[in-house]
């Protein structure tokens, strides 16, 4: 599939601080590309360079075959964005805001269609300061689509939303992919990245340290599958460590009852565990298997949790 966006060796410094150190990636047409990283990793700076809000010190950015640094106006016609730290005037209505931004573009989208698509019809003439967080985010997405863009940048679009609003936005973002648009998404929710993104770049200290599909990234995890088990009588951790394939056994964290067993051979460990429970006349209350997650990969690579 041809690339919609090509970023090569992007560099950006603020004084002595090198915020972005040679970032390169490509985004295909109709692909949702996620960018994950701890705070201060260089995600937002990369995004702002791509969109033209900051001038990079080096590297190249190509969007829809155009050099983004030389054809800013033309590129702006083709990209849409929802950024953090952007709001609208308190007394502007969604309809007015959409009409205003539509007037800036050569080929704007139809305003009533956007209002309808993002379920803003009922609030179309309400003031911005009376909208809920979810409605504001939906308006932000509608504004990002006002020019029918080929490429969208979404900077933490679901931050601070309730689960229902988040699910609605997930559907809207998936619909963008279905429309054939490319999306560059940053998020603080790892499960959101896993759910939405076709490929993910993990960025830390201004560099991409891992890039691939969620499944590819997870397959590289060093973490082992874990069996989480809860029984009527507490289990002896030393005996658990002696089971087939077990590398480590610990008590459940967060004060919850039960144990966690890290193992290289899930099936054989479970068979041994059941035999052990029978021999001890102990009763199994709950058992489930946790495969390594994207969060495990993230922690292994960056040494931090995503929301740290």
């Amino acid at each position: 599939m041809p690339s919609q966006v090509i970023v090569r060796d992007l560099i950006k410094s603020y004084g002595a601080l090198q915020a972005v150190r040679g970032v390169s990636f490509e985004i295909a047409r109709g692909e949702i590309f996620g960018m994950l990283g701890p705070n201060g990793a260089g995600k937002t700076t990369t995004l702002e360079c791509v969109i033209g809000l900051r001038d990079p010190d080096g590297g190249s950015i190509e969007i829809s075959g155009l050099d983004a640094r030389r054809n800013r106006r033309e590129v702006k016609e083709r990209i849409g964005a929802q950024l953090q730290n952007t709001a609208l005037q308190d007394k502007i209505t969604p309809r007015e805001a959409l009409k205003l931004f539509a007037s800036f573009y050569r080929k704007p989208a139809d305003v009533p269609t956007l209002l309808n698509r993002f379920s803003l019809n009922e609030k179309a003439d309400a003031y911005f300061d009376s909208l809920s967080g979810g409605q504001r985010q939906r308006l932000g997405l509608a504004l990002a689509l006002i020019n029918e863009p080929e490429f969208l940048l979404l900077d933490e679009p679901t931050a601070g939303l309730d689960p229902q609003s988040r699910r609605e936005l997930h559907d809207a973002i998936k619909a963008m992919r279905s429309d054939g648009r490319s999306v560059l998404l940053t998020t603080h929710y790892i499960e959101e990245a896993e759910l939405l993104c076709d490929r993910i770049a993990i960025i830390d200290q201004g560099k991409i340290i891992a890039l691939g599909t969620p499944a590819e990234l997870i397959s590289k995890a060093k973490a082992l599958p874990r069996i989480v088990v809860n029984t009527v009588c507490p289990l002896n951790l030393e005996r658990l460590r002696g089971l087939h394939g077990v590398v480590e056994a610990i008590e459940n964290a967060n004060g919850s009852r039960g144990s966690q067993i890290s193992t290289r051979k899930v099936g054989e460990t479970i068979i041994d565990l059941v035999k052990m429970l029978e021999a001890e006349k102990n009763e199994l209350l709950d058992l489930h298997i946790k495969q390594p997650s994207l969060e495990d990969v993230f922690i292994e690579l960056t040494g931090r949790r995503l929301r740290d």
């Binding site: 702006k76 990209i79 205003l100 007037s103």
Partner: protein, 280 residues
């Protein structure tokens, strides 16, 4: 052009939904008219009307417009504009023209109220007064643009605006006729645009048939005022455009601050020429 007009109309509409903007845009100018009328024996003559109109333009330009720009910038509205294919000049022009229209409507209201309540004569040359008010607004809005670019917050606008507003009122010929000022203050007033604003509008309001002795009036008698306000406005607009910031976090580079001095150079040049022409 479509983007420019839509932005202008939207900004005008939003201004009229903002209670604070309405109070400062219309309430305060009306109060200043009544204050002048009360102080000067229940009348408002040509000079006082010119002073009131100058205060209206000065308030709108030094406080109204920059507060609006800085507040929107703090909220990230300008950051969002920057993503659109619309030029800085288009947006600045739209914001300045919007503010001019607000100031103009306020000035028209003041003129009508002055006639109704204080029996002030209608301006002798309404079209010339309109041209003069436009030039005064251009000069002051240029200053307002520089204030908006230098100030990081709305409260900083108030502080910087007062630094310009108060000297102009007290020793700049706006609150007190410059002819009544002590000599040292007359020397100061030639460097301040307020004096030229009052003078050019006074010359357009004066009715020749009511004068006791014939003196040149109208725009033709205000060539230096036209030059002074034009130079001050042009240098300030240029500096404001060069200092333009889309984002509150965007730092103004050291060399860019030189443009702030360019704006002041306009004032300085006008003052030096006025001193040379012995206009004190």
């Amino acid at each position: 052009m479509h983007g420019f007009l839509t932005h202008l109309l939207t900004t005008l509409r939003l201004n009229h939904r903002n209670k604070q903007a309405l109070v400062f845009g219309y309430g305060v100018p009306i109060i200043s008219l009544f204050a002048f009328g009360s102080i000067f024996g229940k009348t408002v003559d040509a000079l006082e009307l010119a002073q009131v109109l100058t205060i209206t333009a000065l308030g709108g330009a030094c406080f109204g417009m920059p507060v609006s720009i800085v507040s929107d910038r703090e909220r990230g509205v300008w950051r969002r504009y920057r993503l659109a294919p619309v030029s800085t000049v288009t947006l600045i022009a739209s914001v300045m023209i919007t503010r001019f229209l607000i100031m103009l409507s306020s000035a028209l209201l003041q003129i009508a109220l002055a006639r109704l309540i204080f029996k002030t004569e209608w301006p002798a040359s309404p079209l010339q007064l309109l041209a003069a008010f436009t030039l005064v607004s251009f000069a002051f809005l240029g200053m307002g643009l520089v204030i908006a670019m230098v100030a990081r917050t709305a409260s900083a606008v108030q502080a910087i605006g007062q630094m310009i507003f108060l000297p102009m009122i007290i020793v700049g010929g706006v609150g007190i006729d410059w002819r009544m000022l002590p000599l040292w203050a007359k020397h100061v007033s030639v460097f301040l645009p307020g004096r030229y604003a009052v003078e050019i509008m006074r010359l357009c309001i004066l009715d020749p048939s009511k004068l006791t002795r014939p003196v040149p009036i109208g725009l033709s008698a205000a060539s230096f005022e036209i030059f002074a306000l034009g130079l001050i406005g042009a240098s300030a607009c240029l500096a404001g455009a060069k200092l333009f910031r889309w984002d509150s976090e965007q730092k103004t580079r050291g060399w860019a601050l030189l443009w702030g001095f360019i704006a002041l150079l306009g004032w300085l040049a006008v003052g030096i020429i006025a001193e040379y022409r012995k206009m004190v």
